[in-house]
Amino acid sequence: MFKRMFVVLSLLIVASMILPACATGGTGGGTIKVGLLAPLSGQVPTFGQSTKEGAELAVKEWNAKGGIRGKKIDLIVADSQCSPDPAVNAANKLIDQDGVKFIVGEVCSSASIPVAEIVNPKGVVQISPTSTNPSVTVDTNGATRPYTFRACFIDPFQGLVMAKFATDKGYKTAFIMFDQGNDYVRGLAEAFEKSFVELGGTIVGKESYTTTDTDFSAILTKVAESNAEVLWLPDYYNIVNLVGAQAKDKGVTAVMMGGDGWDSSDLDVKAADGGFYSNHYDPGDTRPIVQQWLKTYGEAYKDAQGNPKVPDALATLAYDATNLMLAAIDKAGTEDTAKVAEAMAAIKWDAVSGTITFDAQHNPIKAAAVISVSGGKKTFIDSVAP
């Protein structure tokens, strides 16, 4: 009895392994399959939803134009949960069962890195829309992963952009404040310092603090004393709120600047008044491609009240990443993944988040949105390319 059940079970398992493979073989002709790894469940399901919407819209537009060389694009979405194991399982399923050779995803760096480790030996092309960790595109030996790209800039890149922005505004001196225990902040501080000096500016002071500090009076007195024109503070909004409020009662007149850590509805616009920060994308950007994207997205997706939804950075970058992938396939003229990766590395594509080219590490070189905090409002003012 037990033996017979075992045989039946084994047969079922074998069948389940063979059948999907057969299905894949049968329908491979008329479509190009693109996989999307999005965290539709887990800690950040809203990230996954936005990403899915952005990617689906890109695919819809390509299909409306007739696909690539007459082949329709088939987007296969897998839930990767922003977590290493589910992401690897989902990627394996996409590659082995669905026969996908092109993957957009994952959103989170912690999931994108293990996925990058399995897709490269298999020669599957991957582009992550939003993973900012440098190790996504570079392996542990420091070599660029040949098949992995990303559509967002990595964190230190913002230091470079804002150094350029500050120099363009005519500022010559800067004071740097950074949290020594935070890699994100330290990376931005170092990148800003290097670029600002290269562009002819002077760093008149540099002070570190710890994450739990609340009293910044000693540092801010030094900032006031140094007469710096720029206070580079690339930390998260909560520190910006504290420093900004205290700067006002220490006679600090330096213009505060920072990175996308400032981007929060909880940023105290009074404390950060007069400051500037960079971000991947801002809906206030006046470039036609951004306005067109807002319109398309708003028509396709409505919020709970039935009003057009405004795309967030995740949807925008997923849209850009999917477009980049499809454009590379189009440009390569073949579905051979080595050729597609080659085409992607050499691409120049007008994306919503800026015109993208790739550097040697497969990180995009593109403009960042600069947002000003003034009069209680956050306003897009410029798109700055390095």
């Binding site: 000693a218 007195t221 205290q246 006679g251």
Partner: protein, 373 residues
Amino acid sequence: MNASVAQKNPLVEAVIRRGLLGKGFLVALAILALWKLASSFMAGPTVFTQQVVNGLQLGFVYALIALGYTMVYGIVRLINFAHGDVFMVGAFASYFAIARWDLNLWLSKVFPTLPFWLSNAIGVITVILVSMVTCALLAFIIERVAYKPLRNAPRISALITAIGVSFFLEYFGALPFVFTSNFITYERPINVINWVISSQGVYVLPAGEAPPPTSIIFSNISLYIIIVSLVLLFFLNYLVQNTRIGKAMRATAYDKPTARLMGINVDGIISVTFAVGASLAGAAGVLYATAFPQLYFVMGIIPGLKAFVAAVLGGIGSIPGALVGSLIIGEAEVLSAAYISTPMRDAVAFSILVLVLLVRPTGLFGEPSREKA
């Protein structure tokens, strides 16, 4: 009395010799610190003075918290580790008073003809009183629920209970329908005015303008903190030294059983002490949040620990000691942040605790003869 008896004991004599060694080390350290301070002052007298003002502002806030530790310890010999969290509750109470009910502006709404500075000042006093009353009630409840049943238990049980109360206040506060676990931007109850003190005299610095070189900035926030702290300190001193309750407190601190025999309601006095200490922490919460305008459910831990260090430095149980110790800690922190390196500030503050415990465990104003219960 005790000290003169102790000197004849060879064992204690050895301890005193060791103490002298420690004192030598302390003197060397003090000389080094003074030399560093003097050279910093010479390098930039105005910046140095500015940093001293920054330190004062911090020190006075610590003083209000330290008083709560010291008063409670003086009477029940308990290090009330929940005190820092009472301070946090005080800060949040004032946040609700300001952001939800506009209590800092109530008088200017009722009597718009009054000069704004006056009605605002009275409004701010109202906000501080709301926080103080909230914290006093909270401390009263904590004392009744958590500490009173353990009055005759070993001291370690009460200490552990205090740590439990501390965690309870933090994580109850973190609940989404209480204070939430987010950083909350605090709305300052007064508008910032900066005065410039320079050789050209004293004047108000227009917003967004840089102060002239070699001048000192003194903000109304610093002034407000120093004035409120001093007023409360004088009140407390009056309460303890010149009132019947104060007399009862001192008697209870000195000898509980005898105090009880003299007809003092010892339990009532202990409750009052907790409530008074907590109300000072509540006021400190308002001042701290005004100086560093951000609230967070664990914001009380670090200031609480620093104030505890200050209380130990001043001599735990001593009220003037708490003030002097707090001012020293505030200055030590800000000056080491300014002239050594910012991340050193906490290390310096807590090294002071270790040094005090090694060299003079009774602190600057402590009374060794009281250590008998």
